[in-house]
Symmetry: C2
Subunit: 492 residues, 2 copies
């Protein structure tokens, strides 16, 4: 039996996000579980370890205290510590298999291969870029951390724990549903009962549920062009009857005949994705009249309505729907953060009942503690304060980027004047935005090429998306100027 | 303009889980957002409000302080507060729609109706029963709340926030994947690379992904009988070629011909669901040899292996697999809690790549903060301490229930002697367990009738499941005696 560690063979890694105290605890727990340290073995004294790791002695004392509290180690003699005789040990079976030599004929196994879909791939290392004009990530400097943490603490407290840790079955957290029903939706002019709301794993999950329930190969679906590629690709897996409608400054252009013969129409009326155009009131009325007359379902993806900062948002399409044909999809990814994975579906009870059952088979329900934390964040007013702060910053950022765009006639922006988190940019015809994105990346500038959004097999190449949701105000002008240099350098 | 509230028209609700301070904050936030209180309006003094609500003055002061911090109110004059002129206000559009009069012909819309599936419905009010022998809920009295909360605080801290709040794209939290790869799986004898692991929204989500990827109507699937009804019903939606294999005390009985002609076999080798029998070593070897010879995929649902408390668990089937035919499904629902919704899939990289893409379209990824909290809980050793505590309590509870069952020859238990969280009970032939469950519920006893688990159209009625994961040690004997009285009262 070894006598413990006189010197500890590890170093504090200052690049890690875990604190020094945590790293010390992790090291000893791992050593105890994998039996490098056995029950009864002595640990180095706090003085010795603090010198060796070059950390304060207090950090070591706190780490040892935590290890004592969780039963891994215990005090011995006057000032030493040993591994507790009661410490948990990892049960490692004698035979540890080698990684399998794959002999499966996988090509015959798959009934679908989603990896082959042509969807957006977002760079995860966007924080490493000096000028991140990327779309859809949260700017954590604008987020109310400490309030979120307070709400999480409350949601994880003993009072709520029994409920939020449990299997909700078919249900959601009533506090969250109540907030959506009585606060979020009325701001969009929508009045529904709680039984008409289903909480989902973000808007993506809501759309996935709808497609599985409502689209098979005999169904005709109409989408916008350009449009969100993930959803278009998903639809193509379910039906070959997809029609597209073009988009102008007033949003999607309604074609009466195409709508009349469809089973489902999917639209983004507040800010068209990706052009950010807002659907005009006349077109909304026409679309709803056609849907009602021909019994066509309309899916309204209202993915960033809270980001309207210049004017109050126009009421949702769903607020004008008096026949139940509009299915509304909401998201907290922009107003809170995308890693939260919370969104919701609003529709007739009959549809919600089926979506609830399918969600149950698919994943049960979004985690209880996540739902409850968000509910507290909203009920305590932090959500509204957060949106207000985002709007103020985004408005300022948008203004700066807009002024830059106005001065540069190589690049033209389109879209709504009410807000959003991005501009849709139309470059000169000779521009290939994919080449531009590569060249810009070399200058530490991140933009999103636009070809994926178009339905055509040979899509236009000169469009791209520039978001201002992750880039600091002070960097926009410099980043834009460098980007324009890149564009000019590509001119044939 | 009104002059604020001289009296506040609300009462502290002591039955609510939210604290008094929280209730006060929620009340004012709601009033400000819906404009019952306008900017500049005065709030009642802390003295007046504390008297009126019968709470300590300090509670009111803290609530006002928090409201000030978040910008809803501000101090005015010497000791008063007013609604801040900068306070966020709800934007309520002028037209608020009436709930729609549903005119959709829904019967023509659905391409599937999952609400019609014959699956388990778990009572959510189980905490109200004196003797909850229900299955699959966590006992929050056995959980390390404060350690979980510490880990959550760390995962929600500023250091981690930027990462855990972001869109992970196709990825998972590397800390969690690393822990599963280097700690959880080696205990089951499984050695894989991180790229062979996908984190899922519980085991249910892992199984759903597998079925969508690998099962269509030309595929032959073999399952156990009795078996988990949610999964069987889900399978029936994808293929009509389902064969079942009976189960005895050594687990599922392997039929060579049936396995040889199958595309996929789904098994629960550690603790068969619901009988809890452990699959014998000889049958495991035979199953794997057949799978390898005939290129059959084997799905191993290892849903509660940590709950083996009498002997070390036998190594997973996956640990004996050297050809890549076994797909392993793990879950944290039993060892942590079901509302967490975390599980994982372990398989060949080719399969994981497709499952990752499908998960991306379905829901993106399990929430980042949930993954990171669980990763810290594990890395800091709380997870092992937690399992140890659960095992100690469950072992004791199982022993008590076992002794009771042994003394009562009306009810016979089957299953593994190694642990688990439940007994599968075989009652006298004249017993209808559904009637028994109803009668027992009147006596505040909760059991789960077993008919759902059988594949036959007219399933045996005399089986039921009794779990000991949610009932306190002290209540088991009394609850069992009362249940036996119920059984006797039903004897024809």
């Amino acid at each position: 039996m070894n006598q413990g560690y006189s010197t500890v063979l590890f170093q504090i890694d200052t690049t890690q996000s875990a604190s020094k105290q945590t790293q010390i605890r992790e090291f000893f727990v791992t050593a105890i579980l994998n039996r490098s340290l056995m029950p009864g073995d002595a640990l180095p004294s706090t003085r010795v370890l603090s010198e060796q790791l070059d950390v304060s002695r207090n950090t070591v004392i706190l780490a040892y205290q935590a290890l004592t509290d969780s039963g891994y180690i215990e005090p011995k003699d006057r000032s030493g510590f040993i591994v507790s005789p009661e410490a948990p040990v990892g049960q490692i079976p004698e035979t540890l298999s080698q990684p399998a030599d794959d002999q499966v004929k996988w090509t015959e196994k798959f009934v679908q291969k989603p990896s082959k879909l042509n969807i957006i791939s977002k760079p995860l290392n966007w924080r490493e870029y000096d000028f991140p004009f990327n779309y859809g990530q949260a700017d954590s400097t604008l987020f109310s951390h400490s309030e979120w943490r307070d709400c999480a603490r409350q949601a994880l407290g003993i009072r709520d724990f029994g409920i939020t840790a449990g299997d909700f079955g078919y249900n959601d957290d009533p506090l969250l549903v109540d907030y959506i029903c009585s606060h979020s939706l009325p701001r969009r002019g929508i009045q529904v009962k709680p039984s008409q709301i289903l909480v989902t794993m973000g808007a993506q999950n809501a759309l996935f549920l709808l497609i599985q329930l409502l689209v098979s190969n005999d169904k005709k679906v109409v989408i916008e062009d350009p449009f969100y590629p993930d959803l278009r690709e998903l639809l193509k897996r379910h039906t070959s009857h997809i029609r597209t409608l073009p988009v102008d400054d007033d949003g999607v252009i309604i074609d009466d005949d195409i709508i009349a013969s469809a089973d489902m129409v999917i639209v983004t009326p507040s800010h068209q994705c990706p052009t950010t155009a807002t659907l005009s009131r006349d077109r909304r009325k026409n679309l709803l009249a056609l849907a009602q007359k021909h019994d066509v379902l309309v899916v309204e993806d209202d993915y960033e309505f809270e980001m309207n900062f210049i004017e109050a948002p126009s009421p949702a399409l769903k607020s004008m729907d008096d026949s139940g044909h509009v299915i509304y999809v909401g998201s907290f990814s922009k107003s809170l953060f995308p890693g939260l994975r919370l969104g919701y579906l609003v529709a007739s009870e009959q549809l919600i009942e089926e979506a609830r059952s399918l969600r149950h088979l698919m994943l049960r329900h979004p985690p209880g503690q996540t739902q409850r934390t968000a509910a507290y964040f909203m009920a305590l007013g932090h959500y509204d304060a957060q949106i207000k702060r985002l709007r103020r910053h985004f408005s300022n950022r948008r203004k700066i980027l807009h002024e830059n765009l106005d001065q540069e006639n190589l690049l033209e922006e389109t879209g709504a004047h009410f807000g959003g988190t991005s501009f849709w940019i139309n470059g000169p015809e000779w521009l290939d935005a994919r080449t531009l994105a590569e060249k810009a990346a070399e200058q530490s500038i991140l933009i999103e090429p636009g070809h994926h959004f178009f339905n055509a097999e040979t899509p236009p190449k000169n469009y791209f998306r520039m978001a201002y949701s992750s880039i600091h105000e002070d960097k926009i002008t410099h980043g834009f100027e460098k980007l324009v240099d890149c564009v000019k350098s590509l001119k044939p």
